[in-house]
Amino acid sequence: MRQIRALISLVRWDCILELRRLDAVLNMSLFAVFMLWLASFAVSSDKEAQARIGPLIFWIAILFAGTVGLSRAFLVEQAGGVLTGVLTAPVDHGVFYLAKVAATWLYMMVMELFLLGAYVVLFNFTHWERVPFLLGTMAGFTLGYAAVGIVIAGMTAVIRGGEVVLRVLLFPVLVPMVIAILEASESVFPGISLTETQRLSRPLVILIALDTIYLTVGYVLFPKVVEE
């Protein structure tokens, strides 16, 4: 119970800091929407290409914009020496990890909502009945992204050329999740037909399984990342 209270306090603390600066959410959202807008030039006149390539651009924008948030995940703690304080507090390091994952998930979801709004406008998305499923897929993908991303960001935050190394390490690990969401996209985005073998349930099961694995592994490994 004490650990749950600590988790809520840590998430709230992170959110308050973010609300004051709007650092991660604003930068991630601007970056993602700009990427989508720029890519939309390439397919602006071709409706078929819009439907076919649109989902891919949407997920790639999330993939890249997410690293903007991850590279800032430990900025405040390190700058003020707060990390040492948090780590010496009577709170399980795993709880600190879960709080970081929850906060990152929250910021990324806000960014993805902005991106979805931009997608509706730029790619003429009108299939509103598919939005709940799309939100579910986004939530699942973002959870796995944050779970593995926070462990890697914890390491790259303290090393030379960390931002580049973060992407080099993170993207290959996330590719299985990208495959799953692209399969799921076939039923969410219009223009791509859902084949018999690629039914909806499989990508979702893969996504949930990967989320569980990444969260468990992250919870176990993160204390080793931050230990002095």
Binding site: V148, V151, I152, M155, T156, V158, I159, R160, G161, G162, V165, V168, L169, F171, P172, V173, V175, P176, I179, T197, I206, I213, V217, L221, K224, V225, E227
Partner: protein, 223 residues
């Protein structure tokens, strides 16, 4: 040192014996794939041994996190490097075979090919991480953490066909007894050679650490 030399002699002898079996024992052509199937006797052993070495690297990394020691770190690094070598051979031979069998060097729908490429990139990232960290203790700790994450790609490759239902790479292969024997013999040959390489790599890493320590001591004396 003598044991290491013996390992190399044994490894190379087994590889040469595999070449002998490929040249004289197995049929020169297969009904469907023709002569191109012969590359399978390099492709399969390198694939299976690279998976094994990545598992060794993952176990050594996990053991390092439980109880740190330089030996475990060296084993994890050496196994990952030898695994990358095996994985590169697998991707190159696989692409050559794919061109002959399917008409393309790279088939995007093939999830086993895709997952092996993911594994290759993940382990290259592992090496990149090691290069980026300056402090030896921190480097070993971070590499061990990422080594455990990287090892998660091994079951992904192994079960890729079952997960995505891909039919290009077969789940099991029905081979002639000579082919089956050569395939398994090749795997043992590659394994012996790679084990010899791994012990050399661990030795090089240990000597490098010792020379760095001596350099530091000399620098301290000069000051």
């Amino acid at each position: 040192m003598k044991l290491l030399r013996l390992n190399y002699v044994l490894g190379w002898a087994l590889v040469l014996a595999t070449l002998y079996f490929i040249a004289f024992k197995v049929p020169p052509a297969e009904k469907v794939l023709g002569t191109s199937y012969l590359i399978f006797f390099f492709h399969y052993p390198s694939a299976i041994t690279c998976l094994l070495f990545f598992v060794i690297s993952g176990i050594a990394s996990a053991l390092y996190l439980i109880e740190p020691s330089p030996g475990k770190d060296r084993a994890a690094l050496a196994a990952a490097e030898i695994g990358i070598l095996g994985c590169t051979i697998t991707l190159v031979t696989g692409s050559i075979w794919a061109k002959a069998a399917w008409g393309h060097f790279w088939v995007f729908e093939d999830k086993r090919l895709l997952t092996v490429a993911i594994m290759w990139f993940v382990y290259l990232g592992y090496i990149a991480l090691r290069w980026s960290v300056e402090s030896p203790v921190q480097r070993a700790r971070f590499a061990a953490v990422f080594g455990v994450i990287a090892a998660l790609t091994v079951p992904l490759v192994w079960y890729s066909i079952r997960i995505w239902g891909e039919r290009r790479h077969p789940m099991s292969i029905d081979l002639d007894p000579e082919m089956k024997f050569t395939m398994r013999f090749g795997a043992v040959a590659f394994l012996s050679l790679y084990l010899a390489m791994m012990s050399t790599r661990m030795r090089v890493a240990r000597l490098r650490e010792e020379s760095r320590r001596i350099e530091e001591l000399l620098a301290q004396r000069d000051v």
